[in-house]
Symmetry: none
């Protein structure tokens, strides 16, 4: 349905998208720059965070441009009379980023190889099922039965993923150093809270009667959820990787402690002999 | 021939191109970031993967823009009345990327110098012959004899390349560590399956009567093939390079094992003196 928005309503979404572009670009730069603070064995999780925010940066530039192209400013209001606003970018983005985010989380837990493999396969299949079911529902009319049916079909794998991750994160808590446990516990709750925003944003048009309010809430909701689920989630994974690196005695090349540690070893070895 | 596409048909190709841009950009970033996980002697293969997805990223941005410029949204449909859709980008891309992909594959096999040189020369000549023959055929009318003749001329070097690589990969399997053998065997099959998509996409307009269906299948087919042949192929080559680096005892700078190995040296040197 074509919308007519006040300047304030149009700008709310416009600014939300611009904020997400800035957040994704900033975290892309940040994750590249802090890489060397993390021990090599934990860097794959940071690499995946970096790639995730890079992909999201690209898609939010496209989403932003699509929003701008969809409206014309006429007589003091923004009228949706251009090319249709393209919601598909979100789904293409999620097809790529959700499996990568899940892999990032599983990798930072450092479970054994067989467990990691089995989790990654199950979670990736569930993620793709969730996104593939969501897409036709998103394209369907707000009050249609098919939106509800596809939504429920997508919610089942969604619940499965959140449940599995919540349980796996819970199980891994006992095996970690105290600092890492606190971070993992925070990650666990952020995951549940953030991910819940997505189905809420999806079902909003079905429960809010005013199509303008529904559209604004949905676009802003998805934007906030994407910032929490990608940059913030990536920051927590980074904090976990840094804490683990320190616990394992990793010091950056050139760090005085690294030089000290290296020089100390032969001395200790000599003392022993 | 000018096409008239429904919004769904137009968007299918549009989203496929956008997906390829995201996939190429993501893998470009990924290959740059994971470089240091690979021993220096295997890095050339990763470098070539990185350059290949970089070139493809550029060309898919061009292809995407050309698609957008070729159509106008009129009366609920996309009519092809703009500048012609430029298919030449694909061929310019392949002229650069196919020799690089072949070199990447030959390099990661680590054959002896003479063999590597001879393979690279033969495969590059065949690749250029294949692409140069394909181009006039691609430009020819869908039902013309010249499309078929050029297509067959291009298929001969294509079959030669696939045959040579299949045999060479097969020969090299016996000389590798078990983990590497499994990866090389996967690479061998992905190569054959992926590359087969290209001639199929080429000949589709000659066998499918409906020009809209033929065009959609061709563009989506080429897009999928390019994602498999470049990022996915690059990921497998990377996995092989990492596995070989590990087998050879390579550890990243700053890795506790590397620090340990470095500290061990003076002790051993002392023992010898």
């Amino acid at each position: 349905m074509d919308l007519t928005l006040s300047a304030g309503q149009y700008d709310l979404v416009y600014n939300a998208f611009s904020f997400v572009i800035a957040a994704m670009g900033a975290s892309l730069l940040f994750f590249v720059l802090v890489r060397s603070s993390v021990a090599p064995r934990h860097r794959m999780a940071i690499t995946l965070s970096t790639v995730v925010v890079g992909i999201a940066l690209y898609h939010y530039v496209r989403i932003f441009n699509s929003w701008v192209d969809a409206f014309t400013y006429t007589g003091g209001a923004y009228v949706q009379d251009g090319v249709p606003f393209n919601e598909a970018y979100r789904y293409v983005d999620w097809m790529l980023t959700v499996p990568l985010l899940l892999a990032e989380l599983v990798i930072v837990l450092k479970l054994d190889k067989g467990k990691t493999r089995s989790l990654l396969i199950r979670l990736t299949i569930a993620a793709l099922a969730m996104i593939i079911a969501g897409y036709p529902g998103e394209m369907a009319a707000a009050d249609s039965t098919s939106k509800i049916v596809w939504g429920i079909l997508g919610t089942l794998p969604f619940l499965y993923i959140v449940y599995v991750l919540f349980v796996e994160l819970g199980n891994s808590l006992g095996r970690q150093a105290p600092g890492v446990t606190r971070l993992l516990s925070a990650l666990r709750w952020i995951l549940v809270v953030t991910w819940t925003v997505y189905p809420v944003a999806y079902f909003l048009p079905a429960v809010i009667d005013d199509p303008v309010v529904a559209e604004l809430a949905r676009q802003v909701g998805y934007s906030i959820a994407d910032v929490l689920a990608k940059p913030l989630f990536g920051l927590l994974v980074l904090a976990i990787a840094i804490a683990k690196s320190r616990d394992e005695g990793y010091t950056e090349e050139g760090d005085p402690r690294a030089v000290q540690a290296r020089n100390d070893v032969p001395a200790r070895q000599r003392a022993r002999s």
